[in-house]
């Protein structure tokens, strides 16, 4: 048994990581404190990073951990720690749309599963992965427009953040 497990370590780990990611996601729905929810999300993201690594796209795995966990979730955790703990939302976790929401989620899952099961997947490519070099070349030549657009988007984000700060600043002064 160990041989079969060790032989198919990739697949086993893949399935394990996938399951763990799913469990982390599910935990996000049930945990009460936002900090706990953040921890669950971080775990999911890390497991996803693991999956990316197992799939061979290491750079994406790296960026996943770097950007998502390292920037986004850290920001999130800061804000959670900043804001008040004694909040009514901590007593009642769920909004009024619980039952309709569950129904909607199940319906969505059903539709998508139906699509995948009947749509059929494209057959796996023989030379499955591509190297980082190939990816970078493609990114900067074939998809250069999107690359530039991302920089525009980031500028917009910076401007927006400055605008929010300015408002926050004015608010402070008025007080």
């Amino acid at each position: 048994m160990i041989e079969s497990v060790l032989g198919n370590l990739d697949t086993v780990l893949l399935w394990l990581f996938a399951l763990s990611a799913l469990v982390g996601g599910a935990l996000m729905l049930v945990l009460r404190h936002p900090m706990q929810v953040a921890m669950a999300l971080i775990s999911t993201m890390v497991f996803l990073g693991g999956i990316y690594g197992l799939l061979g796209v290491h750079f994406i795995a790296a960026f996943q951990v770097l950007i998502y966990v390292g920037a986004v979730m850290v920001f999130m955790v800061y804000v959670i720690m900043l804001l008040d703990v004694r909040d009514p939302s901590l007593r009642g976790r769920y909004s009024r749309m619980l039952v309709p929401g569950i129904a909607a989620a199940l319906a969505l899952l059903a539709v998508l599963a139906f699509a995948v099961l009947h749509g059929g997947l494209a057959p796996a490519h023989a030379s499955a992965s591509y190297t980082l070099q190939q990816f970078s070349v493609a990114f900067l030549t074939e998809y250069w427009l999107y690359f530039e657009l991302t920089s525009v988007l980031l500028v917009a984000a910076v401007v927006a953040a400055l605008a929010v700060i300015k408002e926050t600043g004015t608010d402070h002064e008025q007080r």
Partner: protein, 100 residues
């Protein structure tokens, strides 16, 4: 079920869970985090399909989603902070200024 299919199912399930979380949870920060979960699910499916087809477009899109997610969080959190300052609560049921 091969790996690809399984990963796709996982991606779909995570997306549905994320959607459900956006709809049912009352804390605004938790709602934001569930939106991040949805984005991650999409990333997973993109990577899977990119690996299946051998093209790079999936990976490129993943990168774009990284950028977008980061920018979005950079703006969303300050907005939430301003909202909380005005309403003094993180409860989404209190944010009903768009009523009518």
């Amino acid at each position: 079920m091969n790996n690809a299919e399984m990963l796709l199912f996982v991606s779909m399930a995570m997306f549905s869970i994320g959607l459900l979380g956006v709809i049912v949870r009352r804390n605004v920060l938790v709602m934001l985090m569930c939106m991040e979960l949805m984005l991650n699910a999409v990333n997973l499916s993109l990577v899977t399909m990119s690996q299946q087809t051998g093209t790079t477009i999936g990976a490129v899109l993943v990168f774009l989603i990284f950028v977008v997610a980061a920018a979005e969080i950079a703006i969303a959190i300050p907005i939430v902070l301003l909202l909380v300052r005005r309403k003094r609560t993180l409860d989404l049921d209190a944010y009903t200024d768009l009523k009518g």
